[in-house]
Symmetry: C2
Subunit: 163 residues, 2 copies
């Protein structure tokens, strides 16, 4: 069962500072088949259902060239997640582990990241496969999958440094 908003046996919540160190902009909206948290996948799959990512103005021009990448990294804001748990019990069985050792949506900054397969670009909308989020989730970033991307800019000294 997904968390509704309860705190489970073994979990620990903290009283976090106000989240005002930096501000996010919603740059788009994600349409998925999942209207309830009880239906969402735990993890997206590249052969999963088509989802639509709609980009808002003034960011549509920033899509130029994106069709060259078969896979994209998508960052989205899990706006219905609580943010105050440091220990979580995914199985709800009395055992807990740290939030940073989980990919749970419950995190101090609830940012989801997925690798998706880009099926089509239709104007300001991308059709992708591989998401796991609720219908209506706000988009915060989009970039080529790191394993497909070669920097265009010339290398810098740090590119050659090894341990």
């Amino acid at each position: 069962m997904v968390r509704r908003n309860e705190i489970r046996a073994g979990e620990v919540a903290v009283d976090p500072p106000a989240p005002e160190d930096a501000g996010l902009l919603y740059i788009g909206r994600i349409a998925t088949p999942w209207a309830s948290r009880l239906d969402c996948p735990r993890q997206g799959r590249l052969d999963g259902p088509a989802c639509r990512i709609e980009i808002f103005e003034p960011w549509v021009a920033a899509l130029a060239g994106i069709e060259a990448y078969e896979r994209l990294e998508v960052l989205y804001w899990l706006d219905r997640s609580r943010r105050d748990l440091v220990l979580q019990s995914p199985r709800n069985d009395g055992t807990a582990r740290g939030t940073f050792a989980l990919r749970s949506p419950v995190r101090p900054n609830p940012i989801g990241t997925s690798i998706v397969r880009l099926a089509a670009v239709e104007g300001a909308t991308l059709i992708v496969h591989g998401l796991d989020c609720l219908d209506g989730t706000p988009l915060i970033d989009l970039k080529p999958d790191r394993s497909l991307f070669q920097p265009l800019a010339p290398p810098q000294p740090g590119d050659f440094q090894v341990e």
Copy 2:
């Protein structure tokens, strides 16, 4: 050359809305060998120099169990990046492409993501290899590499849906 703050030939800036759709918390700080943007790698490498990620309270307890993962996904806030470019010219040669088709630090929400190798956990500090950011960069999230993580929670209907 990295961007200082100039707009180059072929680039397009927009007048973005105020970034107040959601608020971020800095949950830690990253120490790297790179004090200047002129030295940072374009992309981190898993055999790169050791970097230190210091976790702030009240989040230290959320590290419990992280040592089980050889690789982590790290999200950080590129606090010295401009946020208003939709077309960028990485080679500064008059040609430009969209921000979402680049992994440049200049983005509407300047969030960097890296996969790092976890070398050690020392109390509230992680020693990792694979980062590319400036010394002092604020940390915003930390999770197991998706390719190493198996959800502990029971599957949901969406996990079985295919296109």
